[in-house]
C-alpha cells in the first residue's frame, strides 16, 4: 500500500533521515519505534507532505506522491494524527470534526463517518459543543484521531498517541486503534516511544536510530530480541 524508499530529509545542514525504506501492507498495523530525535516524526511528516525530502521516494497505491503538497496527499487517502494532539483549540468538537472532512463533499457519507467516530469515542458526542481547548488530554487525542477518520483515510499515521495521556486512557486509545484497523480495514503506521504497547498491537516493526533503520521484523519476534529488550523495553 505504502512504500518508502531511500528517503533522506535534512533540516538545513543537519540530516534527520539518512536513507529510510519501509513498507506498509493493506490492512496491517506497522510500528516505527525509536528514541528521541531518531527521526520518527520527520518520517511521518515527510510522508504526509508537510516536509520536503532531499532525495528518495514515497509511493502510495502505486502512485508517486513524493512531491505533492499536503492537501493533495490527504485527498489521496492518507490521514495524519500529528504529535502532541494538535487540535484546533478555538473551535468546538463538532467544528474540529467538520474540519477533518474539509476536502469531502458527500454530506451523507460525512454524516456516516461522524456516527462511526461517535461509536468509537462516545465521549466526543457528549462534548460536541465544547471548545476543544477545554478537553482533557485523552479527549483531545480522541478528537485528533476522530478528526483524521473524518477524512475517510485508507491509511492512517499516528504520531505518539500515548504522549502525555493518563495511563488509564492509553490502553483505551490503543484498543480503539486496533478496532479502527479491524473494522474499517485502515492500514496503520504507528510511531511510539512506548515500544511495549506498540509491539503488542502491531504485526511488523521498524526500529529507527539517529536517522537510520537499525532493525526490522515481525513484532512478535522483536519483542523477544535481547538487544531491543535492553534498549527500549526496559530490560
Amino acid at each position: 500500500m505504502l512504500e518508502v524508499s531511500e528517503l533522506c530529509v535534512s533540516y538545513g545542514a543537519i540530516a534527520a533521515l539518512r536513507g529510510i525504506s519501509l513498507k506498509v501492507e493493506h490492512g496491517s498495523i506497522v510500528t516505527l519505534i525509536g528514541g528521541n530525535g531518531a527521526g520518527k516524526t520527520t518520517t511521518l511528516r515527510t510522508i504526509s507532505g508537510l516536509l520536503r525530502p532531499k532525495s528518495g521516494k514515497v509511493t502510495f497505491l502505486g502512485e508517486n506522491i513524493t512531491r505533492l503538497p499536503a492537501h493533495k496527499i490527504v485527498a489521496r487517502g492518507i490521514g495524519h494524527v500529528p504529535e502532541g494532539r494538535m487540535i484546533f483549540s478555538n473551535l468546538t468538537v463538532a467544528e474540529n470534526l467538520a474540519m477533518g472532512a474539509y476536502l469531502r463533499t458527500d454530506k451523507a457519507a460525512i454524516a456516516r463517518n461522524r456516527e462511526y467516530v461517535f461509536g468509537i469515542f462516545p465521549r466526543l458526542k457528549e462534548r460536541l459543543r465544547q471548545t476543544a481547548g477545554t478537553l482533557s488530554g485523552g479527549e483531545q487525542q480522541m478528537l485528533a484521531i476522530g478528526r483524521a477518520l473524518m477524512g475517510e483515510p485508507k491509511f492512517l499515521m499516528l504520531d505518539e498517541p500515548s504522549l502525555g495521556i493518563a495511563p488509564r486512557l492509553i490502553s483505551t486509545i490503543f484498543e480503539k486503534i486496533v478496532e479502527i484497523n479491524r473494522d474499517r480495514k485502515i492500514a496503520v503506521l504507528l510511531v511510539e516511544q512506548n515500544a511495549n504497547l506498540a509491539l503488542e498491537i502491531s504485526g511488523y516493526a521498524y526500529v529507527l536510530e539517529t536517522g537510520q533503520l537499525s532493525m526490522d521484523g515481525a513484532s512478535a519476534d522483536l519483542r523477544k530480541n535481547p538487544q531491543l529488550k535492553a534498549a527500549y523495553l526496559g530490560g
Binding site: 492537501h71 487540535i87 484546533f88 478555538n90 477524512g151
Partner: protein, 324 residues
C-alpha cells in the same frame, strides 16, 4: 432573509437616518462619530488577519494609504470631468464616491496580494517586519511622487464622507468578517491560527487562507483610507506611517484577538479616549500609554474579550424560563 443580512440592512438604514438628520447634530460629535466608524472598519478588518488567522501584520496603514490616494485621485481628477463644473447632483456625487471607494479598496487588495504571496510563507516576527517594511516603502513612494503631491500630499479633496457612508461600510466590514469566519470555509482561518501543521494535515491549504485573509483585510483598509481622505480633505504620506498601523494593532489586541465585538468596542474606546483626554493635552500620550500597560497586565487577552454569545444565551434563559 438570513439574520446577518437583515442586521446589515438595518445598520445601513440607521446610518442613513442619522446622516439625514446630521444638520441637527453638533459637528464635533459628528466628527468623532466619523473617526470611530473609520477605525471600526480598520480594526475589524485587521482582526481577520491578526486575530482570526493569526498572522501578525503591521502594514495596515500602508494598505489604507493606497486606498486613500487612489480614491482621492479619482474624485479629484475624474470628478470635475464627469460631473461638470457645478459638481453634479447628490446622486451623481454618491455614485462617483462609491466607485472611488471600491476602486481604492481593490487597489489596496491588489497591493495586499502582491505583498502577501511572497511574504506569507514567513511567520511571526518575520512577517511583522516585512509588512512594516511594506508600509514604509509605500509611504516613501507617495512622498516622492510629485504627481501625488509629494510630501505636501493631496489637497482639496471633495467633502463626500458622511456618517451614512462610514457606517454603511463599517456594517459591511463586520458583516463580511463575521459571515466569512462563521462559514464552513471560514473555520479554516481559525484552524490556521490554532495549528498550522494540523491544518495542513487535514488538507487545508493554509497559504491560500492567509492570502485570502490578507487580501480581504487590505480591501477594507483601502476603503477606510478612501473614507478618511474624503473626511479630512487633505492626505499626507506621514498620516499613514507605522504609528497608525500600531494604533490599529493596539485596537485589535485590546479588543481581544479574534473577537469582533470586543474589537469594535476597543476601536470606539481608543478613538474617544484621546478626545476625552484633550483637556490634559500635555500628559495625554503618557496616560494613554500607562493605560495600555495596565490593561495588558490585568487583561492580557484583551479588555473586551468576553464570551458574548454565551452571555446572550444565559440572559435569554434567565428571562425566558423553560416551559417543561
Amino acid at each position: 432573509m438570513p439574520r446577518p443580512l437583515l442586521a446589515l440592512l438595518a445598520a445601513i438604514l440607521v446610518a442613513f437616518g442619522v446622516s439625514y438628520f446630521s444638520d441637527r447634530i453638533d459637528p464635533y460629535y459628528l466628527d468623532v462619530m466619523t473617526g470611530v466608524g473609520i477605525n471600526i472598519i480598520l480594526a475589524v478588518s485587521l482582526n481577520l488577519v491578526n486575530g482570526y488567522t493569526g498572522q501578525f501584520s503591521l502594514g495596515h496603514a500602508g494598505f489604507m494609504s493606497v486606498g486613500a490616494y487612489l480614491s482621492a485621485a479619482i474624485t479629484l481628477l475624474l470628478g470635475p470631468r464627469l460631473l461638470g463644473g457645478a459638481g453634479g447632483s447628490a446622486l451623481q456625487q454618491g455614485l462617483l464616491f462609491l466607485g472611488a471607494l471600491i476602486v481604492g479598496g481593490l487597489g489596496a487588495a491588489l497591493a495586499g496580494l502582491a505583498v502577501g504571496i511572497p511574504s506569507l510563507r514567513l511567520k511571526g516576527d518575520y512577517l511583522a517586519l516585512v509588512t512594516l517594511g511594506f508600509g514604509e516603502i509605500i509611504r516613501v513612494i507617495f512622498q516622492n511622487v510629485e504627481a501625488l503631491g509629494g510630501a505636501l500630499g493631496l489637497n482639496g479633496i471633495p467633502n463626500y464622507t458622511t456618517v451614512f457612508w462610514v457606517y454603511s461600510f463599517a456594517a459591511l466590514t463586520v458583516y463580511t468578517v463575521v459571515c466569512l469566519v462563521r462559514s464552513t470555509y471560514g473555520r479554516g482561518f481559525i484552524a490556521t491560527h490554532d495549528d498550522e501543521i494540523a491544518s495542513e494535515a487535514v488538507g487545508l491549504n493554509t497559504t491560500r487562507y492567509k492570502i485570502v485573509a490578507f487580501v480581504v483585510g487590505a480591501f477594507f483598509a483601502g476603503v477606510a483610507g478612501g473614507l478618511y481622505g474624503h473626511f479630512k480633505l487633505t492626505i499626507t504620506p506621514t498620516g499613514f506611517d507605522f504609528t497608525k498601523s500600531i494604533e490599529i494593532v493596539v485596537m485589535v489586541i485590546l479588543g481581544g484577538m479574534g473577537n469582533t465585538i470586543g474589537v469594535i468596542l476597543a476601536a470606539i474606546l481608543l478613538t474617544i479616549l484621546p478626545e476625552v483626554l484633550r483637556s490634559v493635552e500635555q500628559y495625554r500620550m503618557i496616560m494613554y500609554a500607562l493605560l495600555l500597560i495596565v490593561l495588558m497586565l490585568v487583561r492580557p487577552k484583551g479588555l473586551f474579550n468576553f464570551d458574548y454569545l454565551g452571555i446572550a444565551a444565559r440572559l435569554r434563559r434567565k428571562f425566558r424560563p423553560a416551559r417543561e
